[in-house]
């Protein structure tokens, strides 16, 4: 199968673009409406051949965001507003009929998930799982497909014997490697990785990360990589977006975000990372993340922010470009850095004040 869209793919073209995306959980208990705004106005894009990291603590909306961009929406989760565009479909993902959407999944858009034991069917051998996931997308005969699977494993330097094994016979790291092989078999344009190494030990984690990086650069796929572990982001991602309470608060090249964090939340996260060889005391943030069912007015970080000003209590800061390829949503940061005047924001929606 060839590419659906005809648009040329150069280094700077976007593979994924979301515009003012809002995904809410809407529930009705005993006649009382409850709305959890897990993703509230996220505008971002992922470029060709890059790993885009998303960091944030649990319940900040990371997983909901992934569900929204993969169109894996089930009630009570709803897309309230916004667009999700992939360049390989040249259209809004939600505008497609569901049949076309499922043809795109795994072929163009695949996932590496956290719990590899839950992804692999425990009562089927690995080669059957490969068939279940990818056979219908490859459009080839069965023996040809088996050859292709073996070639793919060889390319990823995995032994072919694992195809005969059941998931429980493999170690956790090996299972996660199988999941990566599974997700990259169709050479998808876009891969979503949700905490792929969180359950692994340090030694295994490093190898699995190296494998993800190698595979991604070999196939030129783009990737969204979600984890709360900033050390992992520092080592694998090209660009990094920091999420807080359903919103993107900072985004930039990973090295820039680490060396020059502009949002106070990012600055805190990075300053609090323990490093071997440094016993300088780290301060922890006071308070806890806000409930998404009833977020604070204005900037959602202001109750915990050391730099909070009067305006933060009433108005929500827009994500503004403050340096090259570096966007920040913070009034205090915007006051100190003058945005380069001639640089136009890439999307007018990016500057739209959300609520």
């Amino acid at each position: 199968m060839t590419q659906i869209s005809g648009s040329p793919l150069d280094e700077n073209s976007y593979v994924l673009e979301t515009r003012a995306l809002r995904a809410y959980y809407r529930m009705k208990y005993f006649g009382i409406d409850r709305e959890v705004r897990a993703v509230d106005g996220i505008s971002m894009h992922v470029r060709k051949n890059e790993i885009y990291g998303i960091a944030g603590e649990s319940s900040c909306g990371k997983t909901t965001f992934i569900k929204a961009i993969a169109a894996a929406i089930r009630p009570p989760l709803e897309i309230v507003a916004g667009h999700v565009n992939y360049n390989f479909i040249n259209n809004d993902l939600y505008a497609l009929p569901s049949k076309e959407r499922s043809a795109i999944r795994w072929r163009h858009l695949s996932y590496i998930l956290q719990g590899s034991m839950n992804v692999l069917n425990p009562v089927r051998r690995i080669h059957k799982t490969f068939e279940d996931f990818a056979f219908r997308h490859m459009h080839m005969g069965r023996s040809e497909f088996e050859q292709e699977v073996k070639r793919h494993l060889e390319r990823l330097r995995l032994p072919a014997e694992i195809l005969r094994a059941y998931p429980h016979e493999l170690s956790g790291g090996m299972r996660q490697r199988v999941c990566i092989a599974l997700a990259t078999l169709c050479k998808p344009e876009f891969i979503i990785a949700d905490e792929p190494t969180t359950a692994l030990d340090v030694v295994v984690q490093k190898d699995v990360l190296a494998m993800i990086r190698e595979t991604q650069s070999e196939f030129g796929s783009s990737m969204i990589f979600v984890t709360h572990d900033l050390a992992v982001h520092a080592n694998i991602t090209d660009r990094l977006g920091i999420m807080y309470a359903g919103r993107l608060v900072e985004e930039g090249r990973t090295a820039d975000v680490f060396s020059n964090p502009m949002h106070p939340y990012t600055a805190h996260l990075i300053a609090s990372l323990p490093r071997i060889g440094d016993i300088h005391p780290r301060n922890a943030l006071t308070g806890s993340p806000p409930s998404l069912a009833d977020p604070p007015k204005g900037c959602r970080f202001h109750p915990r922010c050391p730099l909070a000003m009067e305006i933060c209590r009433h108005e929500n800061p827009a994500l503004t470009t403050l340096a090259e390829d570096h966007r920040v949503a913070c009034f205090a940061a915007s006051a100190t850095v003058q945005p380069t005047s001639d640089e136009k924001p890439q999307h007018p929606e990016a500057l739209e004040t959300v609520r």
Partner: protein, 298 residues
Amino acid sequence: MTGPLLQLEGVSKTYRRGGLFGREEFRAVDNVSFRIEDNEPQVFTVIGESGSGKTTLARMILNMVRPTAGTIFFKGQDLASMRGARARRIFMKDVQPIFQNPFEAFNPLKRVDRYLLMTAKNFTPARSSAQLEAAADRALKKVGLSIGEVRGRFPHELSGGQLQRVAIARALIPGPSMIVADEPVSMVDASLRMSIVNLFRTLRDDLKVSIIYITHDLATAYYVSDRIIIMRKGEVVESGSARVVLENPQHSYSQLLKSAVLSPDPHGRGVLTGDSAASQQARASPHPQIDNLEPQVR
């Protein structure tokens, strides 16, 4: 009081698995010895990956599992000689646990404050409900919470970090001289991790509580601990002062562990593409075993 607070002498634990046929023995902990002195409270860290016997060791120190060989002395008393509920209660007053996942440690159908009040009732002289609440509140204040924040709450109403702090507060109510914390931060978010690790420092310095901190995270271990042992497959491969061991590990396994720690300082793209000998080997066999690595590591 003189003498060690806790002393382990050649402690081993062997599990048998399999049924009638093909029974095999599995050494979870193999000949571990160390001691923690009574007069200097410290954070004693046990490092190892999954399957290295860390949790079995913790359970033996808590006297939940009997060692197959060797003896554990707590304040001079052999844990194996402990008999009866009364002796157990006296021991628990001194040694308290904190577990990995606070959402699993607390029953989701019980209110959180109930755990605190029950612990106060069992281990302190307080009897009236006002006294019990006061005891709970004193412990919660030490971890930066108050009884008002947890009264009547169910576990799902608190965040993971709050719940883990409640678990620590509960462990503090009896006034223990030692806390055994089994992977207390691995389920907690990065931003809250430091608040818990900082709390351990405060407990050691202000309350003179010794902490056995079990983890696989070398960076927080370096940050908080005084002494350290590194375990692999039940054996202690390296031990000593935490800073000395982690700055300059001697054993090949400790070096492998240290080299696998991801530094948060960004190196940009390509830092992970280098394929180490270890990963080559791990991929060559369907069952990667760390113990095969020895000849290849420095």
